[in-house]
C-alpha cells in the first residue's frame, strides 16, 4: 500500500508535466519502454539498484540507456531522480500506475481479454463495442490466449472481471456439488 502510494505520487508528478507539455502519451510510452528494459534484464536492474556501484556510475549507465532508448529529456531526468532517491526499483510499478492515470485522463480504459483460442475479429469488435458502451470510455484491447481456460472468454475491465470460461464454470459446478 505504501509502495503503491509512492508510485502513484511519482506517476502523478510525471503526468502533470506530460499534461502541461501535452506529451503525456509519449511520456507513457517512453516510461514503459524503460520499465520493460529494466524488467527484462536482471543484470541491468542489479547494476542500477546495487549501492556497491557509485551513483555517478549508475547515472552514466542510465544516461547511456536513455540515449539508446531515445528517451526524452523529461523521462531521462525523471529516471535520474528515481536513481537519486534510490527508487529505481519502482520504475515498472510507476510505469503501470502512470498508464492507468493517462488512460483515466484521456477517458480510456484497458480491457484484457483471455481466450482459449484466437478470438474471431468480428466478435472482438462486438465485445469492444459492448464494453465501451458499458464503461462509457474508449476501450483499449489487450488479448491473451490461455488454453487452460478450456473454452469461453475472460475479460478484465478496470476492476471488473467478466469470467465466462469453461474452467471457471467447472470449478463453480464442483464447489456447488461439494457444498451440497
Amino acid at each position: 500500500m505504501i509502495t503503491g502510494s509512492l508510485s502513484r505520487r511519482y506517476a502523478k508528478a510525471l503526468l502533470e508535466i506530460g499534461i502541461s507539455q501535452n506529451t503525456f502519451d509519449a511520456l507513457g510510452k517512453e516510461l514503459e519502454r524503460a520499465a520493460d528494459t529494466l524488467r527484462a534484464s536482471p543484470e541491468l536492474r542489479n547494476a542500477l539498484e546495487n549501492p556497491v556501484f557509485s551513483l555517478e556510475k549508475r547515472k552514466l549507465i542510465m544516461d547511456e540507456l536513455s540515449r539508446r532508448l531515445a528517451l526524452s529529456k523529461t523521462v531521462r531526468n525523471f529516471i535520474m531522480l528515481l536513481l537519486d532517491k534510490g527508487r529505481i526499483a519502482r520504475l515498472p510499478d510507476i510505469s503501470r500506475v502512470y498508464r492507468g492515470l493517462v488512460d483515466e485522463h484521456a477517458g480510456r480504459v484497458r480491457a484484457t481479454v483471455v481466450s482459449a483460442r484466437p478470438l474471431d475479429p468480428m466478435l472482438e469488435t462486438r465485445l469492444k463495442t459492448a464494453l465501451e458502451k458499458q464503461s462509457g470510455k474508449v476501450v483499449i484491447f489487450e488479448k491473451r490466449e490461455d488454453p487452460s481456460i478450456l473454452g469461453g472468454l475472460i475479460t478484465q475491465l478496470g476492476d471488473t472481471l467478466y469470467d465466462g470460461s469453461v474452467r471457471t464454470q467447472l470449478q463453480e459446478l464442483r464447489e456447488e456439488l461439494l457444498s451440497e
Partner: protein
C-alpha cells in the same frame, strides 16, 4: 484448763486422807521391824514400803539423806510444791499456747470441714458423671441402632447416586459413540462424494480438452459476447 486444775485439786483433796492412812500404816510397820520378833528388815525394805504407801511428803523440805528428821530420810521431794509448780506451768502454758492451739484446732476443724465439703462435692460430681455414663450406656444400643440405620440409609443413597452416575456416563458414552460413528460415516460419505466429484470434474476437464471443437469455442465466445452486450444494454440504456 480450769477443768484440768479442778481435776488436780479434787485429786489432791482425795489423796490427803489416803496418805495419812498410809503414814499410820507405815508407822506401825516401822515399829514392828524394830522388835526382835518381827525379823530383820534393811533400809531397802523401808524405801519399798514408803513407795508402796503413795504420796508421803506434801509440803516438807526436810527429806532425803540430809533430812534432820530421821523419819524423813526416805521421803521424796514435797509433792504439793511439785503440784503447784505443775499448776503454774499449766497456767503459763494456757496463757501462751491456748489461743494458738485453739486457733490451730479451729483452723484444723475448718480445713477438715472444707475437705469434707469438697469431698462431698466431688462425690456428688462423680455420682452425676456415673449417672450420665450409666444413662449413655443404657442408650448406646439405641444410638448404635440409629447410627446403623443412618449408615444404611446413606449407603443406599450413595449406591443410588453411583448407579445414576454410571447410567448417565454409559448413556453419554453411548451417545458420544453414536455421534462419533455418525460423524465418521458422514465424513466418509463426504470424502467419497468429494472423490467422486473431483474425479468427475477431472474427467470432464480431460474430455473437454480433447473433444471441444473450434465450432464449440466459437459458440461459447458468441454466447459470452451476447451476454456482455445484454449486460451493457441493461447497465447503460441509451
Amino acid at each position: 484448763m480450769k477443768r484440768m486444775l479442778g481435776a488436780f485439786a479434787v485429786a489432791a483433796v482425795l489423796a490427803g486422807p489416803v496418805v495419812a492412812q498410809e503414814q499410820g500404816v507405815a508407822q506401825e510397820t516401822k515399829e514392828g521391824q524394830q522388835s526382835p520378833e518381827g525379823g530383820g528388815y534393811g533400809a531397802g525394805a523401808d524405801v519399798h514400803e514408803s513407795e508402796a504407801k503413795g504420796i508421803v511428803n506434801w509440803w516438807s523440805w526436810d527429806y532425803g539423806a540430809k533430812a534432820k528428821d530421821p523419819t524423813h530420810k526416805n521421803w521424796p521431794p514435797p509433792f504439793g510444791y511439785a503440784l503447784i509448780n505443775f499448776a503454774i506451768f499449766l497456767t503459763i502454758m494456757s496463757r501462751l499456747a491456748w489461743k494458738p492451739l485453739k486457733q490451730f484446732m479451729v483452723d484444723r476443724h475448718d480445713s477438715i470441714a472444707k475437705n469434707l465439703d469438697e469431698a462431698a462435692a466431688l462425690r456428688a460430681a462423680a455420682e452425676a458423671t456415673l449417672k450420665q455414663y450409666e444413662a449413655k450406656i443404657a442408650g448406646i444400643d439405641r444410638e448404635v441402632d440409629t447410627l446403623l440405620a443412618q449408615i444404611k440409609k446413606e449407603s443406599e443413597a450413595e449406591k443410588a447416586r453411583i448407579m445414576a452416575a454410571a447410567e448417565a456416563d454409559a448413556k453419554r458414552l453411548k451417545e458420544d459413540a453414536e455421534r462419533q460413528i455418525a460423524a465418521e460415516i458422514d465424513r466418509a460419505r463426504r470424502e467419497l462424494r468429494r472423490g467422486v466429484i473431483e474425479q468427475a470434474v477431472a474427467a470432464a476437464t480431460d474430455s473437454l480438452k480433447k473433444n471441444i471443437a473450434a465450432d464449440d469455442q466459437r459458440k461459447m465466445a458468441e454466447k459470452y459476447v451476447h451476454d456482455v452486450e445484454a449486460r451493457a444494454k441493461a447497465g447503460r440504456p441509451s
